[in-house]
Each structure stands twice: as structure tokens, then as C-alpha cells.
Amino acid sequence: MSIEAQEKRQGVALVTPALLWTLVFFAVPFGAMALMSLAHLEGREIVQGHDLGNYLRIFTDPSLRRGIFVSLEITATVTVISVLLAWPLAWIIATRVPQRWRRMVLLLAVLPFWTSYVVRSYSWALVLGEKGVVMNALVGLGLLAEPVQIMATRAATVTGFVHFFVMLLTLTIYSNLIQLSPNYARAAQDLGASQWQVIRLVILPLTLPGVMTGAFLTFVLCIGDYITPQILGGNNELTLPQLIMLQLGRRGDYPMASALSIVLMAIVTLAYAASARWLKMERV
């Protein structure tokens, strides 16, 4: 046997376990779910079938259809705000903070990552309430005449999300920034560019892949999250994951939950297709 053939055989042998795992515990369940989405609930029994009734309902029932838009609006808002807040933070840490403090500052920036995810959402509920720390401070300082409602609104959900994703994006953008050679900036400055022009015309475009990858991850994690809107949103509007959990938990309607999941999946796939040219998923 040629050395090349043997190499290939061993290469295949090494990849096979991981591929098998992905096939059995990812692809097959996904297929099972897709099949389930074509069944429907009759009374309280699941009837196997192959009709698109569930999908039809998702796009005609105003409450379900609105779930898609609520999810998209929240996710888009969160992604944009998070990127806008995280980029300057990453830039400041990479360029302004002295080298020896950087690790410390970065660690501090991701500190809340280390508490439990569920508890982190809950702690925002305590902070944002009318009697919470923020309102107490604002009213106490005379900046507000009386507390305004943030808790149990979309603003609370967005705040909780942005908090998490600013941490995530700061890390991805920071690692992107420090890989850039300082020569680019210096060259541009030598050619007479102002600092602002350097950032806008040189550094920003160079960090685009990192930003896009982070933004895509934000999109995926945000649109699929159940905890944050459930704890902070006050049930005043429902996102897709909340609708999915409602179908599961209250009615045992697996077919509808599956169909909603497939729709959620389709949205993420579209987002991926739209941003694929900038993404480097293997380099996350």
C-alpha cells in the first residue's frame, strides 16, 4: 500500500468518531424533529402525518407570526447595540490601557461571565426594578422625578442581552485588534491621516471579519435564548423560544414546537448565508 493511501486511511479513521457523533446526535435528531413538525395534535393526541398545517398556522396566526418579528427585532437591536458598545471598549483596552494592566482589565470585563447564566438575568431584574438600585440612584440624585418602568418591558430584555454580548464581543474584537500590525496605523498617520481617519478607514475595515463573526454568534445565541426574555420581559410579548416552550410545557404540542424550531433554524441559516462571506467560523 502506498504511504499516501495509508495516510488517508488513518486520517479518515481519526475523523470518523466525531463525524459519527455529529450524525447520530445532531443530524438524526434534527431529522426526527423535521418529521415531527409535519404531524399535528388532534385533541390531546399526536397524529403522525405529512402536512404543512403547522407552518401554515405559524404564518397566518397573528400571535405566532408576531413571535418571528419580536424575535428578529430584539435580536437585531441587541446585535447592533452590542457591537457599537463593544468596539470602542475593545479598542480602548487594546490601545490605551498599559500593557501590564490589559489582562487584568480583560478579566474584569468578563467577570460576570463567571456567575450562573440564570442568576445573571435574575440579578438584572433586581437592578432594573422600580425599587431597584438604578432607579433608587437616579431618583436619589434628583436626575429623575420618579421611577420609570424598565423592568417587564423590551428594554429590560435588551439590557440583559446587551450585557452578556458586550462581554463576548469585546473579547472577539480585542483578539482581532491585537493581531493587527501597528504598522498599518503608523503608515496611515505618516501619510497625513488624522487619528479618526485612521480608525475609520484603516482599523475598522481590518477588524470587520472579527466583528462579523462575533455579531453572527450574538445573533445565533440571542435569537435562540429563552431565559432572558422570560425573566426580564414580563410576558408582554413573546419571542420564538418562549412560544416553543409554551407549546411544550403547557400543551405538549410537540409538532407545533418542532415546526417553530424549524422556522427559527431557517432564520439563522438565512442570517448565516447573508453574512457567510465575512465569517471565519473555524477561527472562532
Binding site: L41, G43, R44, D61, P62, S63, L64, R66, G67, V70, A125, G129, E130, K131, G132, Q149, M151, A152, I231, G234, N235, N236, E237, L238, L243, L246, L248, G249, R250, R251, G252
Partner: protein, 349 residues
Amino acid sequence: MTFKHSCAIAALMAGLGPAAYAEDLNALIWCDHADPELLEPFETAHDVRVNVKEYEGTAAGLTLLEQSRPGDWDVMVIDAVDVGRAVERGFLAPLPEGTAPTADYFPEVLLEDHVTINGTTYAAVEKFGYNTVAYNKSAVDPADMTSLAALWSGKYDGRIAIYDYYLPVLGLVGLNAGVDTTDLDAAALETLRDPLMQLKAASKQVSDVVGSQTALATGEVDVLIGGGEWLTAVLNAENPDLDWTIPEEGGLLWAQSLAIVEGTEKPELAAEFIKYVTSPEGQARLATSSCYWGMPANKAAGDVLSDAQKDILRWDDQAEYLTRAQLYPVPDADTDAAMQDLWTDMLQN
């Protein structure tokens, strides 16, 4: 290094693991059955470990049973009005005669029509209470709270929270519109759509137990529709201003029951568990659980509860309350689906 470190932690934790018991009893429960204070005496007495799994809503519970195999579950807590639904699908085993001391029960909560089907008893009621209106009496006029109509009057707009469970709240909206819970069918339901949407417009949030408690306790809302003693009792020490009432239109009576699951391999042990929970001691512990309080079905628990606890439970007012409260609606599958659709619409708008 991480690996070694984690192993060390794991080894340390293994030493702190649970004590070994001879047997297991698997129980499908509501959160008030999870307290060690309730379970431990039974576990010690019978050398058994009680494994509990919480569920929410009868539909979810029945789905869980459907996906299980016979023998997976031994006992379950179920809404007394839904016992029929579970029996119809063959999930419950008959309850041996004399398991629960029904002679000592509040007669109104025996609910024989619901727990006894074709002459066979399947479940024993264990705890009851009311879904009505809970409020902060320092922030609202208690006189207003004697009528449900106050919630639609505009006076409390933006200060109302709705408890996130469709059956009791739809029941209350029905009572305000003059529909008894037994008459709540698909046609009656459509007439409740507008008042429900108005209620949503007047409210600040629709929330679960903790969300409602937080909002009420911190003064973010002053009125909670669907609330009752089960929600305010645990906060009593902190904020004595939290109160509840049954308005003149009436309130909803909730009653939970315990049943043996069909196919159990330990029917005797399961019956013993039900016997324990419905005994005066078990009843007192269940009534004052850390999750929520509620009246014990067994009157004899009154000898075990302290006077302060009985005050909070309003022991002496029960006779009057029971005459004014109506049972939960018992929808058929289609009406239930319609109710949930209506509820989803309310949440989403």
C-alpha cells in the same frame, strides 16, 4: 491541572453525596412537595428516597406520563378537577379505600365528583386555596377590591399584574362577566376576549410566582389578579400590607390531589406516601411549604398548625370563602386549546 483539580473537587463532593436508601419512590409533583421538611420524615420512617420532578400544568404532566414507561412513576400531584382526564387515558390506579382520612376533611373539598369516577376513587385531595385578587392595602383602597370590576375601571391602570396561568385568570374574567366556571365553553370564551385584552392593556406584566411576588413586594404593582393566600403568605413577615380578598363576584377554588400512577411497582409504598401527606403532620408541613402556602384538606391539621400560621391561612374564614368560590373550569380538549390560544394572543398583544 484543571483535570486534577476537578477530580479533587469531584472526589470531595462524592463524600458529601446523599445517604443511601433501600428504595426509591418517584413522584411527579408541584413545587410545594419539594421541601426536605415534608419529605425527610417519610424517607426516614420507610427507608426510602423520594425522587421528585416538578411539572407545571396538567397537559405537561400528562405528556410526561405519555413519554414514560410503566413503573417510571409511583405517585403524582394533580389538579383535582383534572383527575378525570388522567383516568380517561389510563394513567391513574385506584386508590385503596381508607388511604386518606376523608372523615376529617373539610366536606367542600372532598370533591367526590371529580376524584371518584364510576364509583372508583382515584385521588385524594390534599391542599386547596383561592385564585382571586391579591393587593397591597397601603396602596389601594381595600373597598375597591370587593369588586372585580375595579380592575377594569381605569383607576388601577398600569398597577396590575396578571398571574400567568390561563385557567384561573380566564375563570376570574368570566366571573366578572357573569359566566360561571362550569359554563365556560368555547362560545362563552369568545365573549371574554375583549375584557381579557382590556385587562392586559391595563396591566403592567403577566408573570409567574416570583415575578408577581417581586412586583407586589417592591410596589411595582399594587394588584395581582389570580393571586391569593398562596402567594402573599410567604411574604407576610416582610410586608404585612399584602392582603387578598374574594370579591363579591366570587373567586376560584384550586384543589390539588395526590394519586397513585398506574403501572407502579410499589403500590403499597405509594399509598403509604399519600397516607403520610394527608395525615395531620404531613398536611401541616404541606400547608406551610416554602414554595407556597395553602389550606390543608384535612381539618385535623389545625391541631398541628400554630395560631399565627392559621391566622395567615385565615382558617376561621374558610366556611364563608368556600361557599363563595367556584371550582376551576374543566375544559374539553378543544376548549382547552382555544383557551390557550386566547392566552397566547393576550401575551403577544
